[in-house]
Symmetry: C2
Subunit: 195 residues, 2 copies
DNA sequence: ACTTTAAATGAACGATCGTTCAAGCTATAT
DNA sequence: ATATAGCTTGAACGATCGTTCATTTAAAGT
């Protein structure tokens, strides 16, 4: 004796993610959100609690999508290093034209929020850390296959890679003229500290 | 027959910059600003026009302060490469504890704002470009002194350096444990594409 | 068919947003 | 001393913010 919610939770969160990704936490109002996900305030609050609840769900969805993307690329039968490079190109190059913002949503969130929203900040940090851990696993494999230098540890290289991705994606938004991003990424993997 | 404004414009903008730097454009309200700069709304609007006007003045002040800092370091008699390294350490390491945010205010602004605030975005982009140009001038000198590889052009290296600084400063905020930032910067200048 | 129960709705709340402006105040010129 | 010019003040504006909840709707159980 009940009634099931009719909205598609996955699609709703995907739409919310796109809006938050584009406009940021403070730049997005609940009314913006209502339009983007086609839900009325009562339903949103019943499902997510409040504005922070929707944002938290979006951060987790975004991170999960990134890891799913990495797994999908891994399934293509590429070498660990090639898979990693393909993922970076996807994250950096494709998001220039196909994404709400060229900047990584997690990096944007960490840059935007203060201790005033500690929980959201923590979720974003942990999400970024879990992606970085996936990088480290791939790098470890690449090192075992002698495809990447072992001068630095896999976790150090994963950290280095996060820094490069964050820098590239943010810089891409600062530049009006198009950048040779794919070439810059090839260059990246061909030199220190990867080779 | 008149009356001079009694506030110190420079100090007011410095305080506004610190607040905007910490909380971002959308995270800062005019009432936050009124408290931080100790001015009443009428005086603020007379001096700056509106909220965007204060933000624009802050962006320009921030960029000017960065270039002044670089010039100050250059006056210390260091080599061009040493000066550049000292500046990067100042920007990356010192801002971890002595600044409103570890993240560069210009990068934060570019990540936060959309085309909805085109003018502010343009100001931030141009400011970052002018800092990058100062890098290029120093790098050119370092290349002439054979202190930096000439494999890549000075402007390419300046771009590369901006990407590293943006990446490092953002990553620093994502990390709860302290990072060996100074060492990472030394490492940066000792390898490709600088050497 | 009827009852039950939970989901969906959207008007409305108090708070806060960016901004305005009439009134007050004070330094300067006469 | 007085008049004048213009900076300073802060109450108040309409708009929008995040959020609530009484009401309506409709699917599931009998």
């Amino acid at each position: 004796m009940s009634k099931k919610p009719k909205f598609e939770r996955e699609q709703v969160i995907a739409n919310a993610t796109n809006l938050y990704w584009e406009k940021g936490y403070h730049g997005t109002s609940m009314r913006n959100l209502q339009d983007a996900i086609d839900m009325r305030p009562g339903s949103i609050y019943a499902e997510f609690g409040n504005k922070d609840g929707v944002f938290k769900a979006s951060l987790e969805f975004y991170a999960q999508a990134a890891i799913a993307q990495l797994n999908k690329i891994k399934a293509d039968g590429l070498s660990p290093l090639e898979a990693l490079k393909a993922f970076v190109k996807h994250a950096v190059v494709d998001s220039q034209h196909n994404a709400p913002s060229s900047v990584c949503m997690l990096a944007k969130t960490i840059a935007e929020l203060t201790e005033e929203h500690e929980e959201l900040l923590t979720v974003a940090k942990q999400a970024l850390k879990s992606v970085e851990h996936q990088f480290a696993l791939l790098i470890e494999q690449a090192q075992e296959a002698q495809a990447v230098s072992s001068q630095k540890s896999a976790s150090e290289l994963a950290r280095f890679l996060q820094i490069q991705i964050t820098g590239l994606r943010t810089y891409a938004k600062t530049s009006d003229e198009p950048l040779p991003l794919a070439q810059m990424i090839d260059d990246l993997f061909e030199h220190y500290p990867f080779q």
